[in-house]
């Protein structure tokens, strides 16, 4: 009897377990959408949690850093999701096939764990995700690419029109000259009255004026003055590289990086507050962002690919130096930027607007000296200057020049 009973009981237990397993199986296969709460309050709580914690890497509709979350409750059962959100590393390490595949698919970057979340909180996030899945708003395709305004650059037709106009004028002149010479030869071959001949022999209006001595004098004087001025100006540009804008190995745009994205100059030019040189960034600094951003606003993937090539082959990117201060003068960036608090743009101009960097200032000695004469010394909060400021009190403005900024040996040694 006893054994029969136990068999029956065992059978009952088995049936219950089997049906449970069945129902569990169907749940896993056909989702637990019904188990996800749908009340507005929970969705709202979930929304704020999602925006605060998940939005950085996940979107409901599309893949960002991690997978899109729509229908996530259909992919795995809720306890699995709870466990994964709380500690993804543990689930991956446990050898769970689905988790390991996810990890491999997403460049072996583990999701950040949220051990402080309760099941209810994760449930509310799922509620928000379900709400977004079911009431999907068709989003406009992102057009984040920052394109240069085509209207900003002058149309190439303008030049063509001007050149075309000039050509037409020259042809007209030639035709007129030909007509004049034809008329002249005709007149010389015809019989004319005395009066007419006299009239022809008289110099024409224009030629008469051209032979005027005073006019010739004025023209010569003006031409000489202009040529002299141009010569002197040209002589002064020797050794001055203002406007130099060499082609670089990579079409790097300061306008995109420093202008549109507002990345601080110091982020890449790491030496500017610490050393004589501002430094040209090595590719590892480019890769801080370009590991993920492989398509540019101006040139697509072409130019960014050059960074990848340089990193892969371990070859240097040979940038062309724009500012070549002569070796006879010493200049130190940290002294001006960190101590003097001079803005980069004071000497380099609006770099954040330049597609190709050009030398903005002329970098002549007069230019340096003028700034040293006009700029008051930045002594605030700098103990080094306390005594000097005290001594200088009542003697006018304490400029860089007053502090030896005009001494030869300040820059030439």
């Amino acid at each position: 009897m006893a054994s029969k009973h136990s068999i029956k009981r065992n059978f009952k237990v088995f049936v219950v377990l089997f049906s449970l397993w069945l129902s569990y199986g169907s749940q896993a296969a056909f989702a637990q959408a019904s188990a996800v709460p749908t009340d507005a309050e929970t969705i709202k709580a979930g929304e704020s949690l999602f925006k605060q914690n998940c939005k950085a890497c996940h979107s409901v509709q599309s893949r960002v850093v991690g997978p899109a979350l729509k229908n996530v409750y259909d992919r795995k059962d809720l306890p699995w999701i709870y466990a994964f959100v709380k500690n993804p590393v543990k689930v991956i390490k446990s050898g769970d096939e689905y988790a390991v595949n996810l990890f491999e698919e997403y460049n072996q970057i583990e999701m950040t764990g949220f051990p402080s979340f309760t099941d209810e909180e994760i449930g509310s996030i799922l509620a928000y995700v379900k709400d977004q899945t079911d009431n999907a708003v068709v989003a406009e395709p992102a057009t984040a690419d920052l394109k240069a305004d085509p209207a900003a650059s002058p149309s190439p037709y303008v030049n063509a029109i001007i050149i075309g106009g000039l050509v037409v004028l020259v042809i007209l002149l030639i035709v007129l000259a030909m007509i004049i010479s034809k008329l002249r030869s005709y007149l010389s071959n015809t019989e004319l009255s005395e009066e007419d001949q006299e009239y022809i022999a008289k110099p024409d209006g224009i030629f008469a004026t051209l032979r005027n001595k005073a006019l010739i004098g004025i023209v010569i004087a003006v031409v000489t003055a202009v040529v002299t001025k141009a010569t002197i100006d040209a002589l002064f540009t020797i050794g001055v590289q203002q406007g130099y804008a060499p082609t670089q190995p990579i079409k790097y745009s300061h306008k995109v990086h420093a202008g549109d994205y507002k990345i601080d100059c110091n982020y890449c030019h790491t030496g500017v507050r610490k050393s004589k040189n501002a430094n040209i960034p090595s590719p590892n600094i480019c890769m801080n962002c370009h590991s993920a951003i492989d398509k540019g606003a101006n040139t697509g993937t072409e130019e960014i690919q050059k960074i990848y090539d340089a990193v892969e082959n371990n070859t240097p990117i040979e940038w062309v130096r724009v500012h070549n201060l002569p070796d006879l003068a010493y200049f130190n960036h940290s002294q001006h930027v960190e101590v003097g608090k001079v803005a980069c743009q004071t000497c380099h101009g609006p770099v954040e607007e330049m597609e190709v960097v050009k030398q903005y200032a002329n970098l002549t000695m007069g230019w340096c000296i003028n700034c040293h004469r006009d700029t008051p010394l930045n002594t605030k909060g700098n103990g080094y200057y306390d005594k000097l400021v005290e001594i200088h009190e009542g003697k006018g403005e304490f400029t860089v020049a007053e502090n030896g900024g005009l001494d030869c040996a300040k820059c030439h040694y």
């Binding site: 991690g66 040209a234 130099y244 962002c289």
Partner: protein
């Protein structure tokens, strides 16, 4: 009259030639005293590989031009070199040697050597603006302009990171984590610890 014409033509063409001396685009222009412009010593951020370059101003019989500035003994003939491996910078912290995958160790053991003062926080804030803000946003909660494009930038107040320790923050700034790259080549340890102080105030907002 003839002489005058020739003279005028000469002056005009001379002026035109001189005007072309100015720099622009790929043309760096002419130099006034080239011997004094080009460094004889190796300049770290300059390199002239052409041995003929500046041969015409040579004052000696040497066959390498005055402007040539490359170090043939270095890789790619570069003038600059990395410090010898395992050298320790004077007057600075000892090198940070905890490996990237030991985040938990760093998070549990490291403490900030800098005091929590107004000056340190102000420096940290300035450094944060220059090195972190474009991704993490001006106050660490909403991604900045680059962060929006880059994606995957967490808010400092999110449940996952709002309670992480100073050692954790320092380790991540130094060597990176997930999508964030290492910033130890751009920031000294002292600067990183200053940023840590400021980031901790952002976690608590």
């Amino acid at each position: 009259m003839k002489f005058n014409k020739v003279f005028t033509l000469l002056v005009a063409s001379g002026a035109a030639l001189l005007i072309s001396c100015g720099a622009g685009d790929d043309n760096a222009g002419y130099e006034y005293a080239p011997n004094m412009y080009h460094s004889v010593a190796y300049e770290p951020l300059k390199q002239v590989k052409d041995k003929e370059s500046g041969l015409w101003v040579n004052s000696t019989e040497e066959e390498i031009g005055e402007y040539y500035s490359s170090n043939p003994n270095n890789e790619f003939e570069m003038n600059m070199l990395l410090p010898v491996e395992n050298t320790v910078k004077r007057g600075d912290f000892l090198p940070y040697r905890i490996p990237k995958d030991s985040l938990a160790l760093a998070a549990a053991t490291l403490t900030n050597p800098l005091p929590n003062t107004k000056e340190v926080l102000a420096d940290g804030k300035a450094l944060y603006g220059r090195f972190c803000g474009h991704c993490h946003g001006s106050n660490g909660t909403e991604p900045g302009l680059v962060g929006e494009r880059y994606a995957g930038v967490p808010s400092y107040t999110s449940a996952a990171v709002k309670n992480i320790t100073e050692g954790h923050i320092f380790h991540v700034i130094s060597l990176g984590k997930g999508r964030m790259a290492a910033h130890d080549s751009q920031l000294s340890q002292e600067e990183r610890w200053k940023i840590v102080r400021y980031v901790q105030t952002l976690q608590k907002q």
